[in-house]
């Protein structure tokens, strides 16, 4: 049976060109990139080359790029690392006006990835921060007015994802960047000369751009961000490698210790092959992006048109205009997501679902719920995420197979609905 992979937001296959360039770093070029001898020097060349690719992507300086083990680590580093830097500065500064128990404030959204949400919850639990989770509208776009209104004197960070992983909606990152910029201008008295202390009188702006790299502009200046998280395996690179853009002069404290790598911000022996792989993946995105986006967008539209035509009672979740071309999130009302997923899998087709039954937590998708989609319709949702290898033939096959699956599950259900 020919297998069809439509779960590219979960992970992507490794591009053969990436693998090819990684291979020498898994065999011959094995040196520790921190070593001074020739073995190490050869390895660090690969790391440097990759860092150049990322600096190009972000339009930033070489030293503004930090390699991590992935987006989860990058996000943890931003949230906890910035918070710890602020807390330390407060302790060290005798002029700290804030009472010792005053917590710093973080603003994020209700539709973030757990790698942001759960870190925030943890920081709250530890008594280190207070967090505002802003709402999204029914399109799945963050309400930026709520961000503006949430900003307080003790706010130190706004963290909003660039593209949502479940519904593919593109968030207005640049606009949010402008809001943060304005708030920062208000904070600093115009007369005052800039001093290092200003670093701690600023709100920083982070975007988790994991799902955006394939599709969206990534220049840090354009986005007006201080931090950008990316991951290798969502862009046809290897798993276990990610990166973080940190704007020069941004306070950050390491959250793990034990070495001097990555400017002391992220110690640990360089994952040279992974880093090189990430670099190649970025290089390929730059080269192929326009053509691939166009192709994927057309296939996605074909999928939506085909499924909604052949299956009654469907509902597209999230705004179709403000979304990346690879994502379709559809509820097939009256059929349960995990069952659809399993039946598609038996046909060799891989998708994912926002149903509670597949989450292991008994809670349906927090993203769909944040958009006020009724729980029963969240359970009926499937996410299709296309990739650069997706073909028209594959889309045809899904359009052929899924209607019968939905029909069968609806017939099995005690709830009657037209089919």
């Amino acid at each position: 049976m020919e297998k069809i992979y439509l779960d590219h937001s979960a992970t992507t296959p490794l591009d053969p060109q990436v693998l090819k360039k990684m291979q020498p770093y898994l065999t011959d070029i094995f040196g520790n990139a921190s070593s001074l001898h020739s073995f190490g020097q050869e390895a660090i060349k690969g790391v440097d080359w990759a860092r150049e690719q990322l600096a190009n992507l972000f339009g930033c300086k070489f030293k503004e790029v930090i390699f991590t083990s992935g987006a989860t680590e990058s996000n943890n580093l931003v949230l906890r690392g910035l918070l710890m830097a602020f807390r330390n500065a407060k302790k060290e500064s005798s002029s700290a006006k804030a009472p010792e128990d005053k917590k710093f404030h973080i603003i994020t959204s209700k539709i973030e990835h757990p790698a942001i949400l759960e870190v925030c919850q943890e920081l709250v639990k530890e008594g280190l921060a207070e967090v505002t989770f802003v709402n999204v509208d029914s399109n799945g776009v963050v309400k930026i007015n709520e961000i503006k209104e949430a900003i307080k004197d003790n706010t130190i960070l706004v963290s909003i994802m660039y593209v949502n992983n479940e519904i593919g909606t593109i968030q207005p990152i640049r606009k949010i960047g402008e809001i943060v910029e304005k708030a920062n201008l208000k904070r600093r008295p115009k007369s005052e000369v800039r001093s290092p202390k200003d670093l701690y009188d600023k709100i920083y702006f982070h975007t988790d751009a994991v799902q955006a790299v394939n599709y969206c502009p990534m220049k840090a200046d354009y986005l007006k961000t201080d931090f950008i998280t990316i991951s290798g395996h969502k862009i046809y690179g290897p798993k276990g490698i990610g990166a973080l853009y940190i704007k020069e002069g941004t306070p950050i404290k390491s959250i793990i210790f034990g070495g001097h790598q990555e400017y002391n911000i992220r110690p640990g022996t360089y994952n040279v092959a992974g880093i090189v792989g990430l670099g190649v993946a970025i290089e390929l995105v730059n080269k192929e992006q326009t053509e691939i986006n166009d192709k994927i967008g057309k296939l996605r539209d074909k999928l939506i048109a085909g499924l909604t035509k052949k299956i009654p009672d469907t509902q597209i979740n999230g705004n179709l205009e403000k979304r990346v071309p690879g994502n379709a999130n559809i509820s097939f009302l009256g059929a349960e997501g995990e069952s659809m997923l399993l039946m598609l899998d038996l046909e060799g087709i891989a998708v994912s679902t926002g149903s509670a039954c597949a989450s292991g937590s008994l809670e349906p998708s927090h993203v769909l719920r944040a958009m006020d989609i009724p729980a029963e319709d969240c359970h009926a949702s499937l996410r299709f995420t296309l990739g650069k290898g997706t073909t028209a033939k594959e889309i045809d096959r899904v359009i052929e197979v899924l209607p019968a699956i939905v029909k069968r599950l609806r017939e099995m259900s005690p709830l009657k609905r037209k089919n």
């Binding site: 009256g334 059929a335 349960e336 997501g337 995990e338 069952s339 399993l342 038996l346 149903s355 509670a356 039954c357 597949a358 292991g360 937590s361 008994l362 349906p364 009724p374 729980a375 029963e376 359970h379 599950l409 099995m412 259900s413 005690p414 709830l415």
Partner: protein
């Protein structure tokens, strides 16, 4: 999370799926908000000893793979049993017969066991108390 082969077999080829035209008892449990809902239909007859038995049983389920498989397994276990025996079917037995179930799916087997009890209660003209249902189906 992984399903056993037995469970997947019941999911792919559910036994006794559908409805009975004139059931003696019907039990509906769960709700679509929670993501799963089951309706168990029973036809009651008497055996040679004069005991009431479940002559036929069918299910309709909206839910995940584990919910469908649990319903299917329950009907297979209950069919032909005396009502007294069938009422003794526990969620643990259903899960065990399916070769085990992921922890987060246990409430699916809870639902199946409760669905049968509710169908029997319906047949007997008793009320399947909400309290019992809550106890059986603790989630959501």
């Amino acid at each position: 999370m992984q399903y056993t082969q037995i469970l997947m077999d019941h999911f792919k080829n559910p036994r006794n799926q559908g409805e009975l035209a004139s059931p003696d008892g019907v039990g509906e449990v769960g709700n679509p908000v929670c993501g799963d809902m089951m309706k168990i239909y029973i036809e009651v007859d008497k055996n040679e000893k004069g005991e009431e038995i479940i002559k036929d049983i069918k299910f309709q389920t909206l839910g995940c793979g584990a919910a469908i498989a649990s319903s299917s397994m329950l009907t297979e276990m209950a069919k032909g049993k005396t009502i007294e025996e069938a009422l003794k079917i526990t969620r643990e037995q259903i899960a065990e017969k399916l070769g085990g179930m992921p922890k987060e799916k246990i409430h699916c087997s809870v639902l199946a066991a409760a669905g049968l009890k509710k169908a029997v209660a319906d047949y007997r003209g008793e009320t399947f108390t909400e309290k019992l249902e809550e106890e059986e189906h603790a989630h959501c």
